[in-house]
């Protein structure tokens, strides 16, 4: 006699119910767990184990954010090298000159555009993740600024900066581990 334990739990509501998972007990008492590959149905334990993979996603999204944030800072530094003309009160023409100079300052515009991408990605990450995990991960942007400044501005890496980079990476790795716990 073969007993099928119905430890089945629906996952999602898409209704593609061809897949299934079950524990089968044969006459000799051997229990075999199996599940169909195209599953929309998972036993309880599988659903809880599937959660960590999901909870990592916002972490990677914030890491992506930090790349945008680092690049934005580099661009804004380039942009700051072209000083903008002053706005003189009671002289409307100076406002036009200022606006034109602002729009012509490509690195500055690029910096703001990158910041906008960064904000959007951060918001999407915060929707699904914990603030206490995601916000400190944002500190990786320091690392990108240091690395990108070495490339773009020939800044040198000293012992303190390298130690700082390593400590931040250590902290963020730890946060990543914390976030993967259910």
């Amino acid at each position: 006699m073969v007993t099928v334990h119905s430890a089945i739990k629906p996952r999602g509501g898409s209704g593609a119910g061809e897949g299934f998972a079950a524990a089968v007990e044969t006459e000799s008492g051997v229990v075999t767990n199996f599940h169909c590959s195209e599953v929309d149905w998972y036993p309880d334990e599988l659903t809880t184990k599937a959660a960590p993979a999901d909870s990592r996603k916002p972490v990677y999204m914030v890491l992506g954010c930090t790349v945008f944030a680092g690049l934005a800072q580099i661009m804004m530094k380039y942009g700051a090298e072209h000083p903008l003309p002053p706005i003189v009160l009671l002289e409307p023409a100076s406002l036009w000159v200022f606006t034109l100079a602002l729009l012509g300052n490509f690195p500055l515009i690029a910096g703001y555009a990158l910041s906008a991408c960064n904000a959007l990605l951060l918001i999407l990450a915060l929707r699904d993740g914990e603030l206490s995990v995601l916000y400190p991960i944002y500190s990786v942007s320091y690392v990108w600024v240091i690395l990108l400044s070495m490339y773009f501005f020939n800044d040198h890496l000293n012992i303190w900066k390298s130690a700082g980079v390593l400590l931040i990476m250590g902290g963020v790795t730890l946060l990543g581990k914390v976030s993967s716990k259910p």
């Binding site: 915060l126 400190p136 990476m169």
Partner: protein, 123 residues
């Protein structure tokens, strides 16, 4: 530069400005999170007042930051910027009832130490 000199050559006003920038920034993060949670009902909820408030606070925090960082030593001021991570962790406990584990505290301590090092290396 040795730590005492760095501390003495940094005006208190700069420290206060930078610390208030990190406080404002941490509230920015809280409002972004509040606004982001509304988007669970669909992407079109991206236009909501809480997100606008969050972005405004983030942009607003850069004003005291730039003013504060103009004078004084980065080795003193940078760690104060990263206080926003500590503030944010307190707010996530207070406002979002998130669990603050020992791992999270250790991680933020490592990050703070890292930012201190970067501040020292940058000045």
């Amino acid at each position: 530069m040795n730590p005492t000199t760095a501390l003495n050559s940094t005006p208190i006003s700069s420290m206060v400005l930078v610390m208030s920038a990190s406080l404002i920034g941490s509230f920015g993060a809280v409002f972004l999170k509040l606004g982001a949670e509304r988007m669970k009902h669909g992407f079109r909820h991206i236009l909501n007042l809480k997100l606008v408030a969050g972005i405004a606070l983030f942009l607003g925090s850069s004003v005291p930051f730039v003013m504060g960082i103009r004078h004084g030593e980065l080795s003193v001021l940078y760690p104060m910027v990263s206080l926003s991570y500590v503030f944010a962790m307190v707010w996530s406990k207070v406002f979002f009832k998130e669990h603050i584990s020992a791992g999270k505290i250790a991680a933020v301590a490592l990050i703070l130490a890292g930012v201190v090092c970067i501040g020292v290396g940058g000045s």
